[in-house]
Amino acid sequence: MDITESLSHHILDHDWGITLGGFHWPVTTHSVTILAVSVVLLILLAWAARPHKSRNGRLVTALLEEYVLFIRDGLVVPNMGEEGKSLVPYFCTLFLFILAVNLAGMIPGMKSANANISVTAALALCSGGLIVYNGLKFHGFVGFLKSFIPSGTPWWLVPLIFPLEVVSTVIKVSVLAIRLFANMFSGHVALLCLLFMIFMLGQTHWAAGAGSAVPIMVLELFMTCLELLVAFLQAYVFTLLTAIFTGAVIHTH
């Protein structure tokens, strides 16, 4: 069994796109997953947002309201103040999208698109855009540039501190992408490596493979539960950090 090939087959993205008129239209596992998740979320949420008469329907509405309140009162208002209330829809979308894409990786046959750095980089770019937009909206262009200089900095240190602050903001946003990517990617790799251990032991002797199967599957179950936790945790951390950074730009000093 070729482990490298098997790993890359299960972890990496696959392109089965078509070339039309000299231009390649990429269709990959991850892009299909993202589209599927988006369509499912759109349909489900559009249905849930309608006024419901039945008891179960009202329960769904109450659950959604609870979710929106959790984002507004738990994440947005404590970190961004009253000014952030207009951004609650963005944070609701961000959390639910990341969570749904993370959980899609747990469904057999699907892959978590957040295990692809391009996807998480795009999400981080959206968050970076939100940060810059709010800085410009609340402080204007000059005020936004000034907010990069910490209060109490001597004037002769400004040329040194300003680039450091700008680059450190870029790095903070990049860290968002890398954290989400690394957590989702490493979870899948750990699960697969555990599974491969059964086959590697089985190659030495069939009894070793058979004997190790049960303990490794117990470990696999534990890792799957851990990955379920990480799916929720990383969606929460990404949303929380975006709220913290945006809040820091709105309330500079």
Partner: protein, 85 residues
């Protein structure tokens, strides 16, 4: 509790510091390597990039610690605040 009375927000801020420090050096090194290849100055710009990345990483950690300390002082009673400064 070893972390004292830090809030949830501050806990998250502490966990990002390590990754930020690592990424600053990696980014500096990558930029140095790229410029080295472009201008054929290997290995000097790579070393300079890693050094600058290290400076940036240290700066980010010190700034992070400062902001944590100031938020702790704001939360603490007044006499402690006066004792610090």
């Amino acid at each position: 509790m070893p972390l004292g009375s830090f809030s949830k927000k501050e806990h998250v801020a502490i966990t990002t510091l390590g990754l930020e420090f690592a990424l600053a050096e990696l980014a500096g090194g990558a930029a140095g390597l790229w410029l080295d290849k472009k201008w054929g100055t290997s290995p000097w710009l790579f070393l300079l990039g890693v050094g600058l990345g290290f400076v940036l990483g240290m700066y980010m950690i010190i700034r992070g610690a400062q902001s944590l300390e100031s938020s702790q002082n704001n939360a603490a009673p007044k006499e402690i605040k006066n004792g610090h400064h």
